[in-house]
Amino acid sequence: MSAEFNLQQSKILCVKCGEYLKTGSVTLEYLGNNFPVELYKCPQCGLVFIPENLATGKMQQVEKMLEDK
């Protein structure tokens, strides 16, 4: 994934917890397939951030691939 994800800490704040999001492991799922990924999330409540380029790029490709399987 893109370079910005190598940063430990983001500029994104979880409003509820008042904490900056940090990279952590998240499980994504589609059509019964699970895959662990590294994404920004709130260290306290676990709120996840999926950036636009990931949603419209890689994630869309994976969706299509799994839908054709």
Partner: protein, 777 residues
């Protein structure tokens, strides 16, 4: 899809059939392929193609009697292509080295060839290359038989010698001065040869032989009985062909070669104890069933040689090669961007689709292809054998849905839109005020209601005035999206509720303003009388004062693909346009040959790229303003920048509204238009009020964000749900670089993200996106 249906459909597409010339050529030279190489100036490659089928290319390129030319498509325009002269040109220009024969493993079978004419030599060559031990018996003292009678100027001896040098290095035995018959005087009798050899080919000419002499069964005319398919005679080991078979008056060098080849195949099969006759129909000349459209090909006379002795110059050859039509069909592919997009043609597509449906494990690569067809049926109309890809693709979608293999993302948005139109937000079913029954029911369709809701009341009032006995009104979606998506169960429940609505209104007459509704109702409600407003307007007269607002134009009519075969409707539409004072221009693909606007079959949802190609091609067919009688066609053309009217614009609109330039409403707007239409009709016609549509939340959507929403198919309502969720739970993020809030929510299958800032009692939307992959945590 059953195997048999697959094969039947594959057979219908004749694109892979050989052109007339190749089919008629007794050895089936790929003439089209050779000429294509000449056009590229790859003459050696052209020669290779020729030589692949012709064992003695020097001889044949000079003396062939060219039966191929009789079947050349050009005959129907002017004169056939000079095929042999082009073959000779390739030979003369060939710079490739002729590969020496590689010596095959010798078999233990012995074959006797009687007669060293072209026919016998071909059989000998083909069999020797397969490793048979071949011996040629020839009555004279040289190879070639009758070809030596041809004047040297036409067929120089060096050419003959060069062609026959192919026997060098092959282990073929030659016995010259050996006359064969069953006369007792002869040293070699056919009977004795038959005992010593495994098979015999009788390729003697008819000059010095008497058919009686072989002891084979003769017909009433005293000729040897020969099976035309296998060249078998009454003796199981003996095959016969060449001039002997046809008589010297039908002498043809290329047929002699073809006979030699057919005999060699028979002998090979005999030696391997295989069936002599299976699958051999296409060995000799046959009539091709390839279709090639020549309506737009101009006449061009055949190219004459400045010097016939030396053959075509390069310039002459290129000109003559340019006359070849490179015959093929592709009638459908030439007219359909979808078929062209995937780079092949229906015979292959049908097979691919079938394979895709048969996959149990693995990637189904053709899903998107199956879902991209607009189901418009133009291919079926154009195909000489009526192969209809719409039928194939729709059936495939239905199978995918039944097996649970339809990609969930493809049609979900369109089906959700349909669901909206068949919810309380839009659905309505009423008698005309003051009536307890309905003579007819008006069904405007959800897309017209979404695109141009203001016309619907006008049409309804007009119908109420013109049709006695009460006109009911039914709002909803006809179910076309479900039908196109291959959702048979959903289509059928939608039809049932429309049927029930009609029963409630006690009517069997349905009047619609949308061609897709018209098609679907005709298909699924065969017992209901279905009409379009256009045939009615044509018949009953157009509404008073209509048409005065738009000044006369020349307009190109775009026919809807849903009503391809409704000739009466096509006429009515044109009558109305003319009655309104306009001139009509016909597009190249018109009436029963019209093309889809990209909405049909949900093409635009499955493959926006192909839909845009189709739309772009359609809108560039004429510079005139278009007029359409389908709201979706109008909006799709408008969305790509075409000036286009809906026919209702011409009736009810005004020049100052610039209707031809009107932008198509977006997805959210269409839904809102439907919901508002229902409310305003209820209020204005039935005097009823519904709760006012409460906008819970005010959105401020800049133009760029709106475009993103349309591209990503995100509705206002999806955004509202995210904001409501975020603001009520507090689950939101803030980007400290710009202070925008970020939140997501997944109301059903899709997770929506919104980037926003609260602003004056509302929310300014900066960006939005979505995905289907779920966040599990």
């Amino acid at each position: 899809m059953e195997q048999e249906i697959l094969h039947e459909r594959e057979r219908k597409c004749i694109q892979e059939n050989a052109p007339g010339c190749t089919a008629e050529c007794p050895v089936h030279v790929d003439i089209r392929g050779m000429i294509a190489e000449i056009r590229k100036k790859s003459y050696s490659a052209g020669f290779l193609i020729f030589q692949k089928k012709v064992p003695f290319p020097g001889i044949i390129s000079r003396i062939c009697n060219e039966p191929c030319r009789n079947a050349c498509k050009r005959v129907e325009i002017d004169e056939p292509v000079s095929i042999r002269a082009l073959e000779r040109f390739c030979l003369d220009k060939n710079t490739g080295i002729i590969q020496p024969n590689f010596l095959p493993q010798l078999k233990d079978k012995k074959i006797a060839i009687i007669g060293a004419g072209l026919s016998g030599l071909t059989a000998a060559l083909d069999l020797a290359k397969k490793g048979y031990r071949v011996t040629i018996f020839e009555a004279s003292d040289r190879m070639g038989g009758g070809i030596h009678d041809i004047p040297h100027s036409e067929l120089p001896a060096e050419i003959i010698a060069k062609d026959f040098s192919v026997f060098n290095g092959l282990q073929v035995g030659f016995k010259y001065n050996a006359t064969i018959s069953n006369r007792s005087s002869e040293a070699f009798s056919l009977d004795r040869i038959c005992t010593e050899y495994d098979a015999v080919y009788l390729g003697v000419g008819c000059k010095d032989v008497n058919a009686n002499d072989f002891g084979l069964t003769l017909d009433a005319n005293g000729k040897i009985v020969i099976d035309p398919l296998t060249l078998a005679t009454s003796h199981p080991k003996v095959f016969a062909g060449g001039t002997l078979r046809r008589g010297s008056e039908h002498h043809s060098p290329i047929v002699s070669i073809s006979d030699g080849r057919i005999a060699a195949i028979s002998i090979d099969r005999l030696c391997q104890s295989a069936s002599l006759s299976a699958n051999r129909e296409r060995e000799g000349p046959y009539t091709s069933s390839l279709y090639t459209n020549i309506t737009e090909i101009p006449a061009q006379s055949v190219t004459y040689m400045a010097d016939p002795v030396s053959g075509f110059t390069e310039e002459e050859a290129l000109r003559e090669a340019g006359r070849c039509l490179l015959c093929e069909c592709l009638e459908c592919v030439k007219k359909c961007e979808y078929l062209a997009h995937y780079g092949s043609y229906p015979k292959r597509y049908v097979r691919e689709i079938y394979n895709n449906l048969s996959i149990v494990m693995g990637i189904r690569h053709s899903n998107q292809m199956i879902n991209s067809c607009s189901l418009c049926g133009l291919c079926g109309e154009l195909c000489p054998n009526e192969l209809d890809m719409a039928e194939v693709c729709l059936e495939a979608r239905q199978i995918m849905v039944k097996k649970g293999k339809m990609p969930p993302s493809t049609h979900e948005f369109a089906l959700r839109d349909m669901h909206f139109s068949n919810s309380d937000q839009f659905i309505l079913n009423r008698h005309q005020p003051g009536y307890k029954s309905s003579k007819a029911v008006f069904f405007p369709g959800c897309q017209l209601a979404g695109s141009a809701p203001h016309y619907i009341k006008k049409i309804y009032e007009f119908l109420c005035k013109k049709i006695e006995g009460g006109v009911g009104l039914m709002l909803g979606c006809c179910g076309a999206p479900a039908d196109w998506a291959g959702q048979e169960a959903l289509t059928s429940t939608t039809m049932q509720s429309i049927r029930q609505n009609l029963r409630d209104l006690d009517s069997i007459r349905l009047i619609t303003a949308c061609p897709s509704c018209f098609r679907i109702f005709n298909h699924y409600l065969p017992d209901i009388h279905i009409e379009m407003i256009w045939t009615l307007f044509d018949q009953l007269g157009i509404p008073d004062n209509s048409g005065s607002g738009i000044s006369p134009h020349t307009l190109a009519v775009h026919d809807s693909c849903a009503t391809r075969y409704e000739t009466r409707l096509h006429k009515s539409v044109r009558n109305i346009v003319i009655r309104l004072g306009h001139k009509i221009e016909e597009l190249p693909r018109t009436r029963e040959k019209t093309i889809c606007c990209g909405y049909g079959g949900l093409m635009i949802f499955a493959n926006r790229e192909v839909a845009h190609k189709e739309i772009n091609r359609r809108i560039s067919e004429s510079t005139a303003d278009y007029v359409s009688y389908c709201a979706m066609c109008r909006d799709n053309f408008a969305s790509r920048g075409k000036r286009v009217y809906h026919l209702l614009d011409l009736l009810f609109g005004n020049d100052i509204q610039h209707l031809a330039d009107k932008e198509a409403p977006g997805y959210s707007q269409r839904q809102e238009n439907r919901a508002r239409l229902k409310r305003s009709l209820l209020r204005e016609i039935w005097g009823e009020t519904m709760d006012e549509m409460q906008q819970k939340i005010k959105l401020i959507i800049p133009g760029e964000t709106r475009q993103i929403m349309e591209d990503r198919m995100i509705l206002d309502n999806d955004i509202i749900q995210v904001i409501v969720h975020a603001e009520s739970t507090g689950n939101k993020m803030q980007d400290t670089a710009n202070n925008h809030f970020l939140a997501y929510h997944k109301p059903a299958n899709v997770t929506y993200w919104v980037e926003y800032t609260p602003q004056n009692n509302g929310f300014l939307i900066h960006n939005t996106y979505c995905h289907r992959i779920n966040i599990v945590k």
